[in-house]
Amino acid sequence: MSAEDTLAPDTPVENPAPSGPNYGEILYNGIWKNNPALVQLLGLCPLLAVTSTVVNAIGLGLATTVVLLGSNIAVSLIRNYVSEAVRLPAFVMIIASFTTCIELIMQAYTYELYQILGIFIPLIVTNCAILGRADAFASRNPVAPSALDGLMMGLGFTMVLVLLGAMRELIGQGTLFTDMHLLFGEMATSWRLEIFSNYPNVLFAILPPGAFIGLGLLIAIKNYLDEKEKARIAKEQEGQEKVSRRVRVTD
């Protein structure tokens, strides 16, 4: 039974295998075009809850990336042996195993950060971005593209987390990279930047509403950049069409 046979007829297929995996496109999809946080809007619960500082954002982002990478590889490996009916429970089991590993690793090496992130580390299991990638991509693609997809989706997610964390930390406390030693050891203590001195803490940015508004602004910026890019491409094509038409006239 090949991967194509397991597909339900009406499920959309991303990057169908016969044409060969397009690694550039997978990369572009994960980071920008199909970014889990900005476009798919998946995994918003941890995204909004823990991004109050950069270090929290990096911590959770990396944990999620590792789980995504691992689960995508594992799901891709077993994709031909798991029947359609039980695939989702099987995927969730895989994701839960990887999450447990990450949780134990973080408990062992970054205990303080583990305590700060709290329930949101075990909750990576329920992050729909991960199950979404497992079902939509890894279960119908070979191992190499699946691994790249997991890595890129994870990095795209981490990128948004870090941007949002930086925004909220800057507006909320007037600093950047506070407490980085929780993740990178003692030498990172001096990374703390105090952008504004004597800054009154803006609690609003640290509280959940600030996260919603910050995410809204990030999505708006992304859409604005996309529109600009689209306009630029349209202009270029117009120019090319004119050239080709002139060629046809002389023909």
């Binding site: 803006v202 609690l203 609003f204």
Partner: protein
């Protein structure tokens, strides 16, 4: 012919354009403004100037980004009204950047992001106020104590621009704040001893509230607002206060105290009656106002903040569309509409 998109508030009287209505509401705040300046110093006036400038600049900026006619929308005075209401609601000693943050947030995030005047689901001024109250609780709850020490103009200016370190000598808790933190004292004991609850402080707040009441009555007389929202809000607040005062007069404050403290009158006549974010039908306005009154009492008595008008108004803004749906007036010649599921299929 250019089709101008006319937004609500829709008025049916000839010559009553949005700008006229907004201007009248601004004018009606003048008695309250004078009373507040008299009792709490020039800080309110300075805040007013800062707030208006910020409102005009941020409104013009966003209109330019949205490619709307800037002059047309600036001339409807709605941004100015938001600025006026915020300047009146903010303490007279808040630093200038707090006023700027509150007004800019009101205009940009609570109003223009939703599509400008007429499209905002929440009262912009109260969104800005709530944001600042959540973010900067300390400067937002310090008021000039009215105990004979009103700061001079230069002292107010210095307080706002952060060059007066001794501003604490002028500020004290408002009566509502002081009463909330009486810490187990009997009411009578608190009124006798706590500085924020002395006669002078109470009476200055009472005069401020009476001045807003006068402005509000002018608005009702001019038929710019209807009586429904303010009356039901104040009545609900009074009933709640009266009920708990009757049960336990040693711990609760009297209805008169609640009606003449904090932003009760400003909220009832100027903020809750915002035609965009409040209910449209008259019956809906009654429920809407009553909801605000009840919430204000609950937040004042058991909540985390001394006054609850901003949160009360915002929470009832959420409910306004639903209230309007269930209180739609019957059109002439039609039977009463049946609401909800009608399994019998009759009618």
């Amino acid at each position: 012919m250019a089709l101008l998109r006319i937004t609500s508030p829709h008025t049916h009287r000839a010559g009553r354009r949005t700008s006229w209505v907004m201007l009248m509401v601004i004018l009606a705040t003048i008695p309250g403004l004078i009373a507040q300046t008299w009792f709490f110093g020039y800080g309110t006036l300075i805040n007013l100037v800062i707030a208006m400038l910020t409102a005009l600049v941020s409104e013009a900026l966003i209109l330019k980004i949205r490619q709307r006619p800037i002059g047309f929308f600036l001339k409807d005075y709605s941004a100015i009204l938001t600025a006026v209401l915020l300047a009146l609601a903010l303490p007279p000693t808040v630093p200038w950047w707090l006023t700027v943050t509150a007004v800019a947030f009101s205009i940009i995030f609570a109003k223009q992001v939703y599509g400008g005047l007429g499209n905002n689901p929440f009262n912009p001024a109260m969104v800005g106020y709530a944001i600042c109250l959540v973010s900067f609780p300390v400067p937002m709850t310090q008021w000039i104590g009215a105990a004979g020490a009103v700061p001079s103009f230069s002292d107010s200016l210095a307080a706002i621009f952060g060059t007066l370190p001794t501003i604490d000598s002028y500020t004290m808790a408002t009566p509502l704040d002081a009463f909330k933190h009486k810490q187990g004292m009997m009411s009578s004991e608190a009124f006798a001893t706590v500085p924020g609850l002395q006669e002078l402080s109470l009476s200055s707040w009472m005069w401020v509230n009476l001045a807003y009441l006068a402005g509000g009555l002018f608005l009702i007389w001019q038929r710019i607002i209807t009586w429904h929202t303010p009356v039901s809000m104040l009545a609900a607040l009074a009933v709640m206060a009266g009920f708990f005062y009757a049960i336990d007069p040693s711990n609760a404050a009297s209805p008169l105290f609640h009606l003449t403290s904090g932003a009760a009158m400003l909220g009832a006549f100027f903020i809750a009656t915002d035609p965009v974010s409040s209910c449209t039908s008259n019956r809906g306005k009654l429920f809407y106002g009553a909801g605000i009154g009840i919430l204000v009492y609950i937040i004042r008595t058991w909540g985390g903040y001394p006054d609850g008008v901003a949160f009360g108004v915002l929470l009832m803004n959420f409910a306004a569309p639903l209230l309007d749906y269930y209180t739609q007036p019957r059109t002439y010649g039609h039977k009463k509409a049946k609401k909800g599921i009608n399994p019998g299929g009759e009618g």
